[in-house]
Amino acid sequence: MLDFLPARLYGALRNVNLNLLYEMRIRADKPLSVNVGGKFSFLGERGMCEKAAALCPTSAEVEQTLLAACGFSLYSVENQIRQGFVTASSGERIGLAGTVVYEGGAVHTIRDVTSLCVRIPHEIKGCAEEIYRNCLADGACSLIVLSPPGEGKTTILRDLCRLLSLRTNLNILVCDERGELAAGDLGGTADVIRFSEKENAFTAGIRAMRPDVIVTDELLPKDYAAVRRATESGIAVIASAHLKRSEDVPEKLFDCYVSLDGLGRIGTISRRAPICG
């Protein structure tokens, strides 16, 4: 985990509880900050500190971090870079900010990367137990987990997938567009399609893998057509979206709507009539 960090930045994490580390903000020539247990603070050579004592990563360290996270193989992650992120070997998702280069009207690459947002995946077994009990205990149904970014949707989806696999043995297809979802135990009956757009993954996956349930992360408005096709085919879809309220979900295709209330806290669980199960 985080082995792509330059020695100086990695060394600074020695005094940080990695189980509670959710995010690192690496900005060129600006203080290094980390999100530990849901709270941001600055990171110095000896752990958490005041802003003035924080480490300031150099431009070279930012570049080195990105290269190492790509496995020194930019060509193998160029599609991810075009979308503004790369996923490192242990599922750490690294968001990029820099100069976007266009070619032929489409994003060609991002150069002069100055900021990295490293999100560290966590596996919290049992964190989705309440949702499972409320929505899936009587059988698989379509469900969406809603929250703003960084509140644990992916961790909850991963655990839901594991619980569903463990307790029902249903065939689950995991469409992991960003390589984050599969960074942990998904259960013995889960098949994973990595780094494919949802449209392709749903179409090919439904035809080729004949799933009972599809689990996917971060639905965008353009993805709802694929979800509709899946639910109309009788396949339950378990997904997440960057939304706060169930009323904001563009298409009401789900049986259960779960809103998170802060980091990992389950807020409301609402159901669409007829109630699932």
Partner: protein
């Protein structure tokens, strides 16, 4: 009499062996350019198809010998040592540039760079083969002649 024959044989064998070892650097160059050329071809095909990360690609090309050690150095992202391959300074600089470019760019720019190296490497490989062939034969013959000369002078 028999002792003279045995001693003559040993001197000739020794001189021929010296000739063989003297040509070793040309064989090392030939092997290096053949393996580098093969690596280039394999990398270009990797860029066009599976696009595996460079570490995985290098791991799959593990073998024996100095070139395999060089690939291991690249896997560790360290500067490779080229001293065992008897390259000229110019060739060494070219090779360092070549290795430093592995993985540094999108597939289009990587394909463009490494494709441009294909013909150069093929030329180098051919020249090194030719040189190795001619030098090996020459040094063996020189060794044999030197052995015979020693035999005449000493024995």
């Amino acid at each position: 009499m028999w002792l003279k024959f045995i001693l003559s044989g040993l001197i000739i064998a020794f001189c021929v062996a010296l000739g063989y070892f003297a040509a070793e650097k040309y064989r090392a160059r030939k092997k290096f350019f053949a393996e580098l050329s093969a690596l280039n071809e394999a990398y270009l095909s990797e860029l066009s198809y599976a696009k595996k990360p460079i570490d995985v690609f290098l791991e799959e090309r593990k073998g024996k010998g100095d070139f395999a050690k060089l690939l291991q150095t690249l896997q560790r992202h360290e500067a490779p040592s080229l001293k065992n391959f008897h390259l000229t300074k110019e060739e060494e600089a070219d090779c360092r540039e070549y290795f430093s470019m592995l993985g540094r760019g999108d597939s289009a720019s990587q394909r463009a760079f490494f494709s441009s190296k294909t013909s150069l490497l093929a030329e180098k490989k051919q020249a090194a083969e030719k040189e190795s062939r001619s030098r090996s034969a020459l040094y063996l013959k020189l060794g044999l002649l030197a052995g015979l000369a020693f035999v005449i002078l000493i024995v």
